[in-house]
Amino acid sequence: MKTLWLLTSKSITNRRMAFTLSIISIVISVVLLLGIDRITKAAKNHFLNTINQTDLIAAAPEGSLDILLNLIFHMGDPLKEVDYSSYQTISKMDKVAWAVPLSVGDSFKSYDAVSTTNDYFKYYRYASAKVLEFSQGGDFKDFYDVVVGSEVAKKLHLTLHEIIHLSHSSGESAHTHANRDFHICGILKSTGTPNDTSVFFQLKADEAIHLEWQSGHFVDMHISSEQLAKMNIQPKHISGILIGLKNRSNILNIADKLEHFKGENLKAVIPAKALSKLYVLLKNMQEILTLISSIVFVAAIFGMIATMLATLNDRRREIAILRTLGATVKSIFTLFALEAFIIVASGILLGNVLLTLLLILNNLVFYTTVQISYFPDIYELSLLFIMLISAIIVSVIPALKSYKNSLQDGLMVKI
């Protein structure tokens, strides 16, 4: 075996060009295969971990995924509004433990501004029932207080008590409420959820700063911020309501009640159910991507075998010499298997290193709330193992060809 290792390593060094190219193609397929697995898994976790222990979400009638994406992930088209009074009624319902009103659609720089109440920080749960925690400061005390997510603070270098200005709407049509100073009262700890990329302010402040917005245009009413705060403005509209029940077994019952709500058309979404819809979508996507990357891997293996076959003619003399010296058929097959092993094992190793570097780089350049693992999990390790084994198995093809050549060549290769 020692002799075969020596032969393989020296023979490979002798053919380093073809060898390097084979490794590169394996590296690419490993990065692709693991990268796709890593990213889709991270995305899946990100989505599935975002909301927990909220039994129902009430909003204006829309698809349940639309409502979930809009209120929780701050994605997609804006929802129709819900009357604030509906929230007040729902929060007083017998079987309802808590209700949190949410209004989305405004922004701060490129981040989402969500208006709500302090109940949001009290009742919102993510991952396995984790509570939102503050790394600095705390929840709303004053009218113009704002709580910022961890990424917003980190990216924009925001500190406690700093003054920021929110914008009406988002994107290109956004208009900054430059006359209304908001003070940062708290910074949230990182959660890996859309909370990290959001800022939160009070519903009543939301309503107040929009007093000066009429029919989509800014009209300066020359009211000072202090006066505005004292005007006791009550919110009129919200985007939706997060609801926790006293007893979870009442979910369907309450959902039914909400959908036949007096005074307003509402849709009740069970987050767990909507998330499982999302999960199926993600799973399909993951399967397709995994299929594509598996095909890339198979192509890389066949590329390696093609290279081995192409260099076979140059190696006829080499194999004939070894056969003369007493190398058995088994030794010849082992030589090819070792070569395939070295190529794929180095490819796997380098591929993993490269992927980790890419992910670290990605994290440095684009800070993201999606937590991507730097190391392969059991599934990926077994995938890599299958890669290695299949490469060794297909190395039989060039070995067989080489063995047949050696039978034909005999002791002396006449080339």
């Binding site: 032969l7 007493g326 039978l407 005999g410 002791l411 002396m412």
Partner: protein
């Protein structure tokens, strides 16, 4: 002491699988232990095929061959591989060496496939150096890659590789045809000196009749092979 027969051939017939024509049908003959046999014949007379059969790389149609008192004809292919590794040293016309290995690695390679040969060498480094100096090879060549050697040097390294581990049979297939006449003479002298020192049996095949002067036994392969007559 009675001299044993190292190789005993009662019959050996060969034809290519797709062809009807028998191209090899060997007259019975034997080689005694320590003997030096010279087989000469034109190219195409089947010499190399015959050597391939003796080495166990080519399977004959029918044969009755005893080598070193082993019923060689009835060995399985992998037993033949092992037998070859343990008992043979081989030298060809040229391209004997793996170009990417050093001289030292090329010589030692022969032992890499045979425990028996390894067993006969107590100190590998020492034995390689001894053979190198006996074959007039500078020790500075030891770590040089084989591809950087002259043809004459390569052939002598091939002899060292054939001799290491003291195999009982040395097979040489036109080992001098790539050498000029001066190199040829010194090569033959060195080869014989070492083979005699080791007591190996030599089976030497060449088309070059001039070389017959070195041998006690000389066969014309064309007459030897019934298929040609």
């Amino acid at each position: 002491m009675q001299t044993k027969n190292i190789i005993e051939i009662a019959s050996c017939v060969f034809k290519y699988p797709q062809s009807q024509r028998i191209i090899l049908d060997i007259n019975p003959f034997h080689v005694r232990s320590g003997g030096h046999l010279f087989l000469h014949g034109k190219s195409g007379s089947g010499k190399t095929t015959f050597l391939n059969i003796l080495c166990g790389i080519t399977e004959p149609l029918q044969s009755n061959i005893k080598i070193l008192e082993t019923d060689f004809s009835n060995l399985t292919p992998s037993q033949k591989d092992r037998f070859r590794a343990d008992n043979y040293g081989t030298i060809f016309q040229q391209f004997n060496l793996l170009p990417y290995l050093s001289v030292k690695e090329n010589i030692a390679l022969s032992c890499g496939f045979s425990k028996q040969k390894t067993y006969h060498v107590s100190d590998m480094e020492e034995e390689i150096e001894r053979l190198m100096s006996a074959l007039d090879l500078a020790s500075s060549l030891l770590n040089k890659q084989a591809m950087h050697l002259s043809v004459g040097e390569q052939q002598r390294v091939a002899v060292a590789r054939a001799l290491i581990g003291a195999p009982k049979i040395i097979i040489a297939d036109e080992p001098t045809s790539a050498l000029d006449s001066d190199a040829k003479e010194s090569f033959m002298k060195l080869l014989f000196a070492q083979i005699e020192a080791q007591g190996s049996t030599l089976l030497f095949v060449s088309h070059d009749k001039e070389l017959s002067s070195y041998f006690e036994t000389d066969y014309d392969f064309s007459k030897f092979n019934k298929a040609l007559s």
